[in-house]
Symmetry: C2
Subunit: 275 residues, 2 copies
């Protein structure tokens, strides 16, 4: 298992909280890749090659591969195999179903693809995620407070207890017997909520989308979101992998990744406990 301590070690070794999001969009990737049969694989491979010493994690957005049908899945299966072992591998699949069905997803992502983590919808309750949670050597990353405006519709609604739904989601899973292999998705577009989130799950890792295109604030996210392990995997997708110019693509992507890495690490305190 890639433990919290392992991830923390990588954070301080690479001086980074960066998670690179791999969202290969056929309308956006450099045209030179599109001529190739394995365009998505080749595109992701180049990104991995030029960022793996800067990135703590890769978040592979399954939707973009799924949208290509079987040939997308063929490429996806190959990508997981080329990510170096120093990096944490997240399948951003946002699955969840009744147990009998979740079991199918869990087996595919954890056994067949051998990812370290998968993102999951909590709506159907704890038992719907048990087939994932029962993999003690793997991580379940549960949606808590997402970065999109629609998070106000349900996630930020107050329950009769006065708590918000997303707080209840975090509490329910933290108090479950599966707490030790759970992370939560918390969007950087809600920096004021990070203090509350840290009071609910001080020791958990958070996967943080919303920096970049969605406008989340990096400084307050790291200041309020960090914990003794570092505790944050901050995702950048479009802002890193789709630069304004595609000339010298790998050098540009590396430079962008390095700028984000450097800025996020600047706000991170040095803890001894996490090392």
């Amino acid at each position: 298992m890639k433990s919290k301590e392992f991830i923390s070690e990588q954070i301080y070794k690479k001086k980074s909280l960066l998670c690179v999001g791999l969202d290969p969009d056929k309308h956006k990737i450099p045209k030179s890749y599109l001529d190739q049969e394995n365009s998505f694989f080749d595109f992701c491979k180049d990104i991995i090659e030029c960022t793996h010493d800067l990135a703590i994690a890769y978040k592979i957005n399954i939707a973009f591969f799924e949208a290509q049908g079987p040939k997308g899945w063929l490429q996806l299966e190959k990508i997981f195999k080329i990510i170096p072992s120093t990096c944490f591998i997240i399948a951003d699949a946002k699955r969840a179903d009744i147990g009998n069905t979740s079991k199918q997803y869990a087996s595919y992502y954890f056994d067949t693809l051998a990812v370290d983590a998968i993102t999951l919808h909590p709506y159907m309750g704890v038992d719907s995620l048990e087939p994932f949670l029962e993999y003690k050597e793997k991580w379940s990353i549960i949606l808590a407070l997402t970065s999109n405006p629609g998070s106000k519709d349900f996630e930020l609604q107050s329950l009769h207890t006065g708590k918000k739904l997303y707080e209840n989601v975090i509490e329910t899973f933290v108090e479950s017997k599966y707490s030790s292999n759970i992370m939560f998705v918390c969007g950087a577009t809600h920096p004021s909520e990070f203090i509350k989130i840290r009071s609910l799950c001080p020791d958990h890792f958070l996967l943080v989308p919303g920096i970049g295109e969605q406008g989340g604030d990096l400084k307050s996210t790291v200041e309020f979101g960090q914990n003794k392990f570092g505790g944050l995997l901050i995702n950048l997708s479009r802002k890193v992998i789709y630069p304004e110019s595609f000339t010298d693509y790998k050098t540009t992507v590396r430079q962008l990744a390095n700028e984000y890495r450097s800025e996020m690490f600047k706000y991170l305190k040095t803890y001894s406990a996490g090392m």
Copy 2:
């Protein structure tokens, strides 16, 4: 588009509310299929052949195909093409993500696979489902109150308004501009909630899991859940496609499907409005 009126017409023509769930489980399907290269396709094809005049809809459980990797998707893509046009086709995928990503899923399921409907998680809010909802000729089937015990964890929690979360989900989408091409998932394991559900969405179709293995009550589901269109697609998966004996498989499946069809239709009133 397969309109409410179209589905209603099929209901009264076939005298059925039956949705057959296609969950090909390699540990459960008859061994004779497993020797074949396209075992899942062949298995589903036989079920479709022996039930299409009894079933209003087919619900294809994507997880079981996804778990097989690219060869699962190859078979899946073929299955959608052989379902007769009199039947409503549901991709039971339970997807949802931020707009940019949901768009990928929506395009794959609605454009490429050409399904009539897809099941969706509401947790991330209305904007996360908009790429699906914007397909005016297609149906978004949103999880409201699911059939599993974990539905008590969040779906049945009361909000500060006194309403339950699932009621708020139904209201939010019914009041949205997308109401006309939405259905909801409401589990048969909560028959007492159907009266409340019908007060919130009297004219919407409901996809109802939970009969069969999960123990939901068919009589009260139909009595309390029906509306002027018929209004229910009642799913049976395991109880129909995995009979106790596999001798003369297609005849047995047809007989089981017909028994459920006949029993559910018995509780349905005859409406003129829906015809």
